[in-house]
Amino acid sequence: MGVGGSRLEHARHPLWVRAAHWIGAAAFLGLAVSGVAILLALPKLFWGETGANDAPAWVSLPLPVNLEQTGWGRNLHFLSAWAFVIAGGLYLAAAALGGRLYRRLWPDRDQVRPAHLAGEVRDHLSLGGDPRAAYAPRYNALQKLAYLAVLLVLAPTMLLSGLTMAPGVTAAFPELFTLFGGRQSARTVHFLTGCGLVLFLAVHLWQVLANGPRALMRAMILGRPERRDRR
């Protein structure tokens, strides 16, 4: 991976990772905003196959009903979804095949010992942060687990539950209905998983701001955290 074998190696992000990160970030923003716009046509959640205004809901969300936001909402949602799926799919394939997923995101053995994890939880809750985090030799275990949860659990669940709401897709793969327990269940799972991703984003932004945001941002934009990238 790249040149130089210093401890800074870890802090460097190759172009394809940075591109996937920012395309994914922009697409996620589009998906979240348009997702809420679509939700406003029926801000209620149901389990099973069917659900409607006149049917008993599992949850009625405290959101205003608005039927006029569906058109642009759907357009932006599916455009963003394509960007998210294409960039995310290429990233995952490259990260898995190139070994990056295992080398950089899989927790090391010493990181998953209970005492170590407890120490990490304490560090995170102290809110102090580490201004040199961008230069850390490796991601911490909670960070790794959060990234893996997004990449391997939340994002795939989001995609599959979304596709379960697509009649053209379920005509080809009715198994999706079985997987989620019905169209409305998939819709509810889609919403809850989306909330999980928004929660991840909030924590992610908090961690960036708390741990030397300038170096972290430089690393994710320019590829390396130090100011001078080459002498």
Binding site: A41, T50, A55, N75, F78, P167, T170, F173, Q184
Partner: protein
């Protein structure tokens, strides 16, 4: 699986079991729009048409699954003098003209349609607003109507118009699908007025907005870009995708 084919329709004599052309031969490039949303539509349309290339049927349920309440949106009782008269007469004077690129332009009465081979299906209706309901639909496959009228080889799309001024277009991939029916019955009875009486369309592999209510006419055409704003449907002109498989 592909028991309805273009050749079957065109030849007619061998009926709908004629093989030869697969589903993909029925895919015409749908009406598009420019820009990024057009690219997104294009991807969705072509990926889904590939996934559906063997023309699978959507799930069908047993009668116990039928929803107690089936929501209605948009028009629930067309405010049209001719429609009101027709409704008062039990739709005995209602006619469905099938024109355009057909060998035998004709107008079907409700009795004509009911005399044709019928299909009953209990399916999940999904609205773009987010709700879904299960209903039982009885009607004549659209392919049977096109067979009777003799669809010409150059026909690629159907323009379907409704009493309340809606219109949409369909390529033959969807029009000839076995579950695409002109429904005159719902949940064992006549199709209620609020659900599109006397006849509505069912296009089961797309969202509810493609299943038009209150059918007024069917026209076979070779292209749709000259109709209206060229977006292929009324909802297309309101900013929605022509293809609603997602």
């Amino acid at each position: 699986m592909s028991d309805v084919t273009r050749r079957g329709l065109l030849v007619g004599a061998t009926g709908l079991a004629a093989a030869g052309l697969g589903g993909c031969d029925l895919v015409a490039d749908g009406p598009g729009r420019g820009g990024l949303y057009g690219a997104s539509d294009w991807l969705t349309f072509h990926v889904q048409r590939w996934l559906l290339r063997h023309q699978p049927l959507v799930r069908e349920f047993g009668p116990e699954a039928i929803s107690a309440v089936f929501p209605t949106i948009n028009t629930v009782d067309p405010d049209d003098p001719a429609y009101r008269r027709s409704k008062a007469a039990g739709f005995s004077d209602w006619r469905l003209p099938v024109t355009g690129l057909v060998a035998r332009p004709m107008a079907f009465s409700l009795a004509d349609l009911k005399a044709m081979p019928a299909r009953t299906q209990i399916t999940l209706h999904a609205c773009e607003q987010g709700w879904s309901a299960i209903g039982q639909w009885t009607g004549v496959p659209l392919s049977q109507v096109l067979l009777a009228a003799g669809l010409k080889p150059e026909a690629r799309f159907l323009v379907i118009r409704t009493v309340d001024g809606w219109w949409d277009t369909y390529d033959l991939f969807d029009a000839l699908h076995p579950q695409t029916i002109l429904a005159y019955g719902m949940n064992g009875g006549d199709l209620p007025v609020k659900h599109g009486a006397p006849v509505r369309l069912r296009v089961e592999r797309q969202l509810g907005y493609k299943s038009l209510k209150y059918l007024a006419s069917i026209e076979a055409v070779d292209r749709v870009d000259g109709i209206g704003q060229g977006r292929g449907s009324m909802v297309g002109e309101l900013g929605f995708s022509w293809y609603a498989g997602i």
